[in-house]
Symmetry: C2
Amino acid sequence: MVAVASADGDLLAENLSLIARDVDSLLDSLMPVPDDKHARLIEAMRYAAIGGGKRLRPLLLVATAEMYGVHREAAMRAACAIESIHVYSLIHDDLPSMDDDDLRHGRPTVHKAYDEATAVLAGDSLHAMAFHILSDPQTSGDPFVRAELVHTLAGASGAHGMAGGQMIDMIAESEEFDLRTVTRLQQLKTGALLAASVEMGAILGRVPPEGRAHLRAYARDIGLAFQIADDLLDHEGDEAKAGKALRKDAGQGKQTFVSLLGIERAREQAKILVEQAVGHLASHGAEADLLRAVARYIVERDH
Amino acid sequence: MVAVASADGDLLAENLSLIARDVDSLLDSLMPVPDDKHARLIEAMRYAAIGGGKRLRPLLLVATAEMYGVHREAAMRAACAIESIHVYSLIHDDLPSMDDDDLRHGRPTVHKAYDEATAVLAGDSLHAMAFHILSDPQTSGDPFVRAELVHTLAGASGAHGMAGGQMIDMIAESEEFDLRTVTRLQQLKTGALLAASVEMGAILGRVPPEGRAHLRAYARDIGLAFQIADDLLDHEGDEAKAGKALRKDAGQGKQTFVSLLGIERAREQAKILVEQAVGHLASHGAEADLLRAVARYIVERDH
């Protein structure tokens, strides 16, 4: 699959559309609507999880696993687990008591399309589903791999990962943050899950922890580059393309990479981080081309 | 530990106070407050999780594990994981968009003591923490046991367990439920996690799935008995002892076991279920005395 593409762009476009199709198809089969009173809950989970998003985390996971010889079908369940965590976090972040957003991927957010209680529960259920998927023998025949996948994802999603980052982000509305604190916030809020995507791919590929240092460095750099690019898109992007409200941070007085660095320096910094990320893959040959392409896409995307 | 108690009541009282002490102590060490901006999140998690509750689920887990020769210290991490899930569900259930409760264990609920965003995130973080604990090699040296613990708990907490039950409970305010639907609701909302407590104890005790049928039957019966007792306490209990608002179901027009069966028949039914539960333990000797005592306590408690 990697060999046929002639250029970065083709390789990436092909893989983005492939992963979107496969994630949708597997999530569809993982969430059949039951003939029971709680059907509404599964419908809300499906509404949020199927048919939207760039599927960047599944792509990172599958691309890393493939680098180590894991067939993409064998990595898809873990990829859907990490996407479930991402989707759950979006549902909860969009809640009125959190970021209070009405629009996500160009459609009403879950609490708008359903109601707030259903949104809380749909997020909770996707959260649990991720660990149910990972701990299932179908995800890996090796229980050590299953347990390590769970441990990595639970660490990235909890108080010292994504949820901790969102907590700091809530505080950001009332406090003046410096560059160091914004970096820390984003490493937790966005970086932890992006890093987990790569780490979980390596776990499936049986890469021992000591062999993952360069992948962690790659993930850390693209994580920060991703957030700087997000801040730039929030500042100068197109709401129709983004499918969500933009320029909210400035209105709330939140410090971002753009407000702290300015547009030019932020853009420059993102580019440096991407080149740095690609540099961490120097020990790999063509098998890492997709990860290289993802790194470049992260700052070049328009939504 | 089991042999010294002279009667059901002593055995239970001793174990309830022991488990409360040990759960508090381990949760305390599992949640150190970091010197970081997200300290508030961990403080909220600690506020909700430490120093309250009967610790019935940890007790069930530890009592079952001990029946199969697992030392209680070795079962305490899994016990804290299931309690974390229980506490997370209480935090989210208490939210204004859900049951809108101001009081829990006699203290302000998390969204009252902190704020709603912090309550959502503290619940989410305890949810993730449970799986982080279970998948850690410190919980069991056997990765198969770790993965099976995760799988069981994730199944019990998700859309087809506790969260699904809460979804049906939200619908109950606007629909007229019959006994069958109320039973189904409670099997999901309360029963799934109580059953997981027993199941996880058996997993730690290396009981193969086919050897757990009688434990599942025990758990199913005490789960229903527990909920009937809860409905009775909601109807005629003491708010000060309960530490939470009572008699809300009737005000919201929700059907309960008491509204559907009447007080006398509900009380009778709970007693029958407890005797049935104890009957499922007939193949065990004195090593099951604590599980027998828990079954009786479930309907005799006053809060």
